[in-house]
């Protein structure tokens, strides 16, 4: 596999007179956060490896507005949404795939009434559909038989009722999926949602990400998989704080798949 990633912008596509199958909405974390950029790359590697025709907005992408909305700034949210919708509609975008459940939720549920109507998928849902269509093949590789637990991002799970796609992908890795005591509908938040990612927590007796990392620890899994860059950060910090002799690694599902296929 070559190391260079094939990533074209919508502007490139228009210039070539073509339109892509999907728009990959990267999100701010996936664009700027060092840990999340790895998730972005892993997902792109998968798409490249099976020649999925996708475009990104590149410099034309901007924050979906989710953190502003959850912080209470509806003005800023709608300003962001309306200008994003203008760009998306000008490119006649039909299908959006994103690696961030917060962008996913906002684009899917909150953009339509502002004029942005798209089919929006979380990347685990999209990978699952590629798998179903036979375009994507997943083998377990180094994860075969490994103990993996899965942390449900609130904005994918409870917020949008997607619990199975990520789990189905983990099963395809031939890994042993161990559920935490709080999972699916009862999953515990990592602590980052509702704009908490950007501020210190209120006074309490514990950090939420520690509480959650302890759930992970209890499963004795080596890997905790998730599908959200913010959950990833929170759990990574949690794992560092707990400082176990046995290291817990926090991985996005797209990273697991890319690694297993040795991409």
């Amino acid at each position: 596999m070559s190391n260079t990633l094939k990533v074209n912008t919508m502007a490139d596509y228009i210039a070539a007179g073509k339109s892509p199958e999907i728009l990959f909405w990267i999100g701010c974390a996936g664009s700027f956060d060092d840990r999340a950029k790895k998730i972005t790359k892993a997902f792109v590697k998968i798409l490249n490896s099976i020649n999925v025709d996708f475009a990104v907005l590149g410099k034309e992408e901007s924050c979906s507005g989710d953190p502003a909305k959850r912080a209470g700034n509806e003005f800023l949210f709608q300003m962001q949404a309306v200008s994003n919708i203008e760009i998306l509609n000008s490119y006649d975008i039909k299908t959006i795939v994103t690696t961030c459940p917060h962008c996913f939720n906002t684009l899917k549920n909150e953009y339509p009434s502002l004029g942005g109507n798209y089919k929006v998928y979380h990347h685990t849902q999209f990978l699952k559909s590629l798998l179903n269509e036979g375009r994507l093949k997943i083998k377990g590789g180094s994860y075969k038989g490994k103990k993996i637990t899965y942390h449900d991002p609130c904005y994918l799970g409870r917020a949008n009722n997607e619990y199975e796609a990520p789990r189905d992908l983990i099963h395809k890795l031939e890994a042993e999926l161990i559920e935490m005591k709080r999972c699916k509908k009862d999953g515990l938040c990592c602590g980052a949602g509702g704009a908490q990612m950007f501020k210190d927590a209120e006074k309490g007796n514990k950090e939420i990400n520690i509480e959650r990392t302890e759930d992970v620890k209890e499963t004795k899994a080596e890997i905790v998989a998730t599908g959200c860059p913010f959950c990833n950060t929170m759990l990574t910090d949690g794992a560092k704080t707990i400082e176990e002799e046995r290291k817990i690694s926090v991985m996005d599902i797209s990273e697991l798949i890319a690694n297993a296929q040795e991409l």
Partner: protein
Amino acid sequence: MSYLPNITFFLILFLSLGYFISNFIKLRRNINLGIDLDIDLSVNRKQRWANMAKIALGQSKMVRRPIVGALHVIVYVGFIIINIELLEIVIDGLIGTHRVFSGMGVFYGFLIASFEILAVLVLIAVSVFWIRRNIIKVKRFFENSMKGWPKLDADLILYFEIILMSLFLLMNTTDVAFQNMNNGNIVSGYIYPLFENYSVEALHMMERTFWWMHIIGVLLFLNYLYFSKHLHILLAFPNTFYASLENKGMMGNLKSVTKEVNLMLNDSSTDQEENFEENSNEMMKFGASDVSDLNWLQLLNAYSCTECGRCTSVCPANITGKKLSPRKIMMNTRDRLEEVSRNIDKNKGSFVNDGKKLIDDYISREELWACTSCNACVEECPISIDPLSIILDMRRYLVMEEASAPAELNNMMSNIENNGAPWPYNQMDRLNWKDESL
């Protein structure tokens, strides 16, 4: 003279139903203090009925905690079925008959037998509830906001139920004619031996006393509802019917903001800006600082809450010791709404500013900012209450009306405004990752 009991019964029934209805009208008025909410009932009507049937009638979410869930189902089924007996009691009371339905023979026996069995099951379930609250002291019943009236209210409901069920059984036990019929006295038949030594006259006196105490107790309980968390036995139904059918993650877009955003983006001429200024001066208020800024469904939610605390027990902020408790948000909303209601009553139908509001006087900012919007509380509520929507509406008020978000959030928001990301990175660098080696 012989009509005295009938007249007394009629008066008691009339007065208690009258008082109940007047409180119900007040309840409706208070809920309608909330702002409008577009719910299009013409679409998804079936889905709404199905939700009500499944969640309120079928108690599907109660049994997610199987043991207490099952006990609750017993009390609930007991409550509904035993109330069939009330029909007979009311007819007897009004026209002076005694067990007017007993002519139904075997079927009557079957009915009364099932009521008696249910009464015993309810007694057992309610006793377990009392033990959970007063001996085991289940943690979620003991946060600060549960002190005082909420604790007393919860216990009073249990005492009411114990007394009513006991009176029902005693009333049957001491009814000599009913015992002699030996049709349906499946439980009371076993209690009867304790009373065997009393004279028929004494037993008759007892039976009448228990009968009157039972029906008066039922009517008192009915009128107690308005003042109690027990209101959920009625409001759970509309509450589950009107609950949002959208994905939980969807936070509605404020239409008033959409209007202003459109004006800002589309029209830059001074004319339009003046227009915009005028429009925004028209008592436009963003977000909620008091109950009258919430929508009626949020207020219905507050009246429907039975303070079980399942929401709080799954709230990540609460679990980790923060002040936020979704149940307290609902209780505070109802308390403030009741305060506003008393104010309106006192001031001949219109609210006179009392210098208080829901925010600060009831709900602190610290609570509001501790929420992660994870929807665990919404998911957990057995009757589809949405505490999150109230929290977010109050944040909207804090940010858009007061500009008083925590400093870090202001930084995040100005980053989004300036460079399209919550962090201070240049929008032009969004694709840099492509060529970086990580």
